[in-house]
């Protein structure tokens, strides 16, 4: 009967922010490196993410996805299935 406005709003798909580009910089120096006590970097999974995509973003190489998978075995049962909102540990990149 024409009262479809509310239901249309409810069914409206959420925007896809998976291609958002972000960054940061500071006038403050970076803390001195202390590898043994440094907190591991974390990444919050967004809609549309997969391990290869995160590896590409974090390491510049999608093939490094297994490093992220191995560091999060307690959280990820299936490497092809990660969920938005999960906080993944990102191991530091290996130095060449």
């Amino acid at each position: 009967m024409g009262f479809s406005g509310d239901s249309d709003d409810k069914q409206k798909p959420k925007p896809d922010f998976s291609n958002v580009e972000s960054g940061s910089s500071s006038t403050a120096p970076a803390p001195a490196k202390a590898p043994s006590t440094a907190q591991p970097k974390t990444y919050v999974v967004k809609q549309g993410d997969n391990l290869s995509k995160i590896a590409k973003q974090e390491y510049g190489n999608a093939n490094e996805w297994r490093r992220i998978y191995d560091a999060n075995r307690d959280l990820i049962k299936n490497p092809d299935l990660i969920h938005p909102g999960q906080t993944l540990k990102i191991p530091p990149a290996e130095k060449a």
């Binding site: 291609n19 580009e21 403050a28 120096p29």
Partner: protein
């Protein structure tokens, strides 16, 4: 008679001596306690003194013009001003859309010494959807400030 007077005098002098000795000891103890209770001078704690939104930042990482309304293709910058010093601290920006849909979280480790500024930014190649946004700033995991902005 003389003996009894001497006894009284002796007892009085002895009593006064003991009293003076005890007073001196307790004063010394009190002085010692006071000295050891003084705390060391506190270090200047790190605090977030301001958060500004804009379309661009300068070399000092501060926004060149504060705005709260952006176009879809703008780069949205937030500049976080801090004061104080710390050997290591973590600033984080958390960007959300409308009813809390998470867009992005970015962390920046800093070791500030005095007034500093840290910028975070987001953009979207195909344009940010119109609507209301929020950026929340965390210092060492604690939410310290947030700013609302609009894209239209």
């Amino acid at each position: 008679m003389i003996n009894r007077n001497f006894q009284r005098w002796f007892v009085t002098v002895l009593g006064l001596s003991v009293a003076l000795g005890l007073a001196a000891c307790s004063k010394k103890a009190a002085d010692t306690t006071t000295t050891s209770a003084q705390p060391p001078a506190p270090a200047a704690a790190l605090t977030v003194t301001g958060v500004e939104l804009g379309r661009a930042v300068g070399g000092d990482k501060r926004v060149t013009e504060t705005v709260t309304t952006f176009a879809p293709n703008d780069v949205v910058y937030v500049s976080v001003h801090t004061a104080g010093s710390a050997p290591s601290a973590m600033l984080k920006s958390r960007w959300t859309y409308q009813d809390g849909q998470l867009i992005d979280e970015t962390e920046q480790a800093i070791a500030p010494n005095g007034d500093e500024a840290t910028e975070f930014h987001i953009s979207k190649p195909d344009g940010l959807p119109p609507g209301n946004y929020k950026v929340e700033i965390f210092l060492d995991g604690v939410s310290v400030q947030s700013k609302d902005f609009e894209v239209k």
